[in-house]
Symmetry: C2
Subunit: 224 residues, 2 copies
């Protein structure tokens, strides 16, 4: 049975990515981060999903919040939908976040002796973050193979991003076909302690659009 490290936030995309890897018979090792994100509710969602699926799970404490650089780690700034904010990469961008996450995944992959890492990024219905694009994933994979003992001695490390060319609606359809209960997942950037969503932020807007386009019932709980 092939082993893999799967980056897992408890959100819609990474839950679908994890379910997909599981469905393909991969022995999944889920990796989450408590990086000072204001939507801590996603980590609670992650824990509940992991408990249900009963797979190894590691949560790493990362002090990214103390640096600032993102509204996602700063409770004193409002999260505006990007349509109301400046153009370009939105204020919810966290500097080098996926690079830091993938670097830890790479370390864990070496330690559990696997060449495979999964990440649930998408470059279709996404927030414009540079570290969700195919060219970034390819460059990280290339770097990873030069960086590590595994890459040098054991053969090719592969960064799997199976959702990268899927729209949110396609991801949702895929997840529903795999039996995911999306009510368990949290996407909202400012979810409250119960995991209820704001319905306004970019992440909520993309999620709502995805369910609408997939013609599926969206039973996400909203607080506003």
């Amino acid at each position: 049975m092939k082993k893999a490290v799967v980056l897992f936030s408890g959100g819609l995309d990474s839950t679908t990515c994890l379910a997909l890897a599981k469905s393909e018979g991969v022995d999944c090792y889920a990796l989450s981060f408590n990086y000072g994100q204001r939507h801590y509710a996603e980590l609670n969602a992650a824990k509940r999903i992991i408990e249900k699926w009963n797979i190894p799970h590691h949560i790493i404490e990362l002090p990214l919040g103390q640096w600032g650089g993102s509204v996602l780690t700063n409770k004193n700034q409002d999260i505006l939908p990007s349509s109301q904010a400046s153009t370009g990469i939105p204020a919810t961008y966290v500097p080098a976040r996926n690079t830091i996450f993938l670097s830890f995944a790479l370390a864990w992959a070496e330690i559990i002796k696997t060449n495979d890492i999964y990440i649930g990024v998408s470059a279709v219905d996404y927030s414009g973050y540079p570290d969700c694009r195919p060219e970034y994933i390819a460059a990280f994979q290339r770097m990873a193979n030069l960086a590590t003992k595994t890459g040098i001695e054991e053969g090719k490390i592969k960064i799997h991003a199976p959702l990268i060319h899927l729209s949110k609606a396609e991801t949702i359809k895929l997840g529903l076909s795999l039996g995911i209960d999306y009510k368990m997942t949290v996407s909202c950037y400012q979810a409250n302690a119960n995991g209820h969503a704001c319905g306004q932020c970019d992440s909520c807007v993309l999620r709502k659009k995805g369910f609408r386009e997939a013609q599926s019932v969206d039973d996400t709980l909203y607080y506003s």
Copy 2:
């Protein structure tokens, strides 16, 4: 004045790298990690050097030790010189270490708004770690420019590795010309609490060889 993040362990190489950047008029932001390394004395050395040079310094707490995967984060394993151990990449290799370190440097660089990162790796007199080679540094730089808002919107991120083609002796000569007091630095993998060195590990062997070839006085304090 150009700003840069400088990875800084308190060892011989990164101290030379920091001194070199300072001598070129760079406004240095030093970044260290408490990653569970058994040679915690290097962090004390880092703090003393930073205090003397009076530059901004950030120490990040990273839970790499809990994962295992290296004798460098496991106090229960002996550190043998690689000449007495197996061939290939030595047991002191820490999975994905420089990739994790550079990822945090990348985040901090974005936050303080600079495109420049310094790392004191060398591919000449080194321990055979894959993440010290020029092809790795080039691949990380390429990835970093695709990963970040800085890389996309502000122009080229550069990973400076000014010692990469220098022998240990050449690095020492450079550092002495910059006025470094190498007694303040700690290289040993199993330095004691006072920062005294074992004289036996790969890092000590390389350091001794460097001073010998540089025909310089090595006033490192050894406990054995």
